[in-house]
């Protein structure tokens, strides 16, 4: 029986491609975990910092029923951070007291997240129905232990997804370059 034998060049090429593909895939998973997760955590930390700050500043205007001051607080925060998708403040009866929307706050968004009793915060992922590839991290922070209301803030994940995609694109470029060099080497030395 005649044994099928591949030329050495093809052996090198298949081995190289296999190794690069497998290692590349594994590394994409690694990059996703090592870059996306910390950036996501940083996004949450920033969002919670803003929300807690706002919750603390909102106590007096909430108790004085001073909606103008509450609205100013929201406007000022949005002005200094463009990555904030929305902010709104709910009173003890879960009614919107002030918000950053053009019109009114979507009712489904109000119901989408809530701080459970005894908890300091709650984070949920929100996907707009008209844009399914867009993820918003919605953070809820109670005002005065939830006795007088809550602050809700939404931060888009897009900036961090863009950053991760950029890293992966650079990685693929490098993998492609190494694969080309490897195949060229196989062609020369086979």
């Amino acid at each position: 029986m005649k044994r099928f034998s591949l030329p050495l060049f093809w052996k090198f090429t298949i081995a190289l491609t296999g190794i690069v593909t497998i290692f590349g895939t594994v590394n994409v998973v690694l990059i996703w975990r090592e870059v996306y997760e910390p950036l996501g955590q940083e996004l949450e930390s920033r969002g919670l910092f803003i929300a807690r700050n706002l919750a603390s500043q909102a106590v007096a205007p909430m108790l004085y029923d001073d909606v103008v001051t509450l609205q100013k607080l929201i406007d000022n925060v949005r002005e200094i951070d463009s990555t904030i998708e929305y902010i709104f403040i709910l009173n003890g009866g879960k009614e919107v007291t002030a918000h950053s929307f053009q019109d009114a706050v979507p009712p489904a968004l109000i119901a989408a997240n809530t701080v459970l009793p005894g908890k300091e915060t709650n984070i949920r992922s929100i996907i707009p129905s008209e844009r399914r590839d867009y993820v918003i991290r919605d953070m809820a922070v109670p005002i005065l232990d939830g006795r007088i209301g809550a602050v809700r803030i939404g931060l888009a994940e897009k900036p961090i997804r863009d950053k991760v995609q950029e890293t992966i694109n650079i990685f693929f470029l490098m993998v492609g370059a190494f694969l080309t060099i490897g195949i060229a080497g196989a062609f020369v030395f086979a």
Binding site: A15, G18, I19, I22, F23, V26, N27, V29, L30, R33, E34, E37, G40, Q41, V59, A60, L63, Y64, D65, F101, D103, A104, V105, P106, P107, A108, L109, A112, N113, I123, R124, S125, I126, I127, P128, S129, E130, R132, V135, L144, R147, I148
Partner: protein, 323 residues
């Protein structure tokens, strides 16, 4: 030649084995790294799809029957809004439960704002300062409902305070120094000190180098403790409350004088209030100390009980006219 070919063959086999092993071990290491690293627990809750174009306001709720309409209680900002809420929350919940009606908590920054609300009959009952009552009883039409009894009497004092390391020992030493008032309608936090200055034949502008209104007695204490101002006049009841429950907040201040006794800050109602509502609020407050739950709430506020007020107790409260 043959030996050379054998050696080449052995070398090639070894190289192939090494490459396969290297590939397998590398794959194993990378895969375990991918699985094991990163660390953060994924959130189990799935994302929620929200229609952001839907922004209809919820349907208006129909007005509740009169018996379930919330009563409005106003609290003058004797202490900071947060502290006021925490201080009164349980009592308001208790009154609401006893009356079977929701109670809406209304806080205003200044005593004047509360007086105006009472005058407009937008408030059913209010916890006001003695100064605001003396100033507003005829002007805004308010009536004594009950008064708290603290340490056996319905009286309180204004305390003059300074920093514990300050060289000030008498009220007269404040000449040329900065001073904090709480509210322009506060008896203990404004009237008393201004009347003392007038008694010295001076005016506030001449006597003090600088004055500020803090709109809360605990803020006045804080400003003295932090040496932002040299002194302040505060509600003695607030001082005693802090001394009992938050001694750390008064540890840097020293009392250099106390006023005579004045009628204690009362609970008032507008003249135009419905008699039955007035009666039921009064009954709940007067019976509070005879109810175990009510007694417990009162003790947390250092109040013995509520009793009917005596108009003559407020005769010594002298509002400052022509401010």
């Amino acid at each position: 030649m043959r030996g050379c070919a054998v050696l080449t063959s052995i070398g090639y086999s070894m190289l192939r084995m090494c490459l396969i092993r290297l590939f397998m071990s590398g794959l194993a290491v990378s895969w375990s790294a991918a699985i094991g690293c990163g660390g953060r627990t994924e959130k189990n809750e799935p994302p929620i799809v929200v229609d952001f174009t839907e922004s209809k306001l919820p349907a208006e709720k129909s007005a509740p029957p009169d018996s379930l309409k919330p009563l409005n209680v106003a609290i003058a900002g004797v202490i900071s809004p947060k502290e006021t809420f925490v201080y009164y929350e349980e009592m308001i919940q208790y009154i609401s439960a006893k009356m079977g009606r929701p109670i809406k908590f209304v806080q205003k920054k200044t005593y004047e704002e509360v007086n105006v609300l009472i005058g407009r009959n937008e408030i059913d009952f209010a916890f006001v300062c003695s100064g605001a009552y003396a100033e507003g009883r005829s002007r805004h039409g308010m009536e004594l409902l009950v008064v708290p009894v603290i340490q056996g009497e319905p009286f309180y004092q204004s305390y003059i305070i300074t920093h514990k390391t300050s060289p000030i020992h008498r009220f007269e030493d404040f000449k040329g120094r900065s001073f904090a008032f709480s509210d322009p309608l506060s008896n203990s936090g404004y009237f008393y000190a201004v009347n003392r200055v007038h008694g010295l034949g001076s005016t506030v502008d001449e006597f003090f180098s600088k004055t500020v209104f803090t709109y809360a007695h605990d803020y006045s204490i804080q400003m003295v403790a932090k040496r932002i101002v040299d002194g302040a006049c505060i509600d003695g009841l607030i001082y005693e409350y802090l001394k009992t429950f938050h001694p750390d907040r008064i540890e840097d201040i020293r009392i250099i004088g106390k006023s005579e006794k004045f009628g204690i800050p009362p609970v008032v109602v507008p003249w135009a209030i419905d008699v039955r509502t007035k009666q039921s609020i009064q009954n709940v407050l007067l019976e509070m100390d005879r109810d175990p739950d009510g007694k417990e709430i009162l003790s947390k506020l250092l109040i013995d009980k509520f009793q009917l007020g005596d108009e003559s107790n407020y005769a010594s409260v002298k509002p400052i006219r022509n401010r």
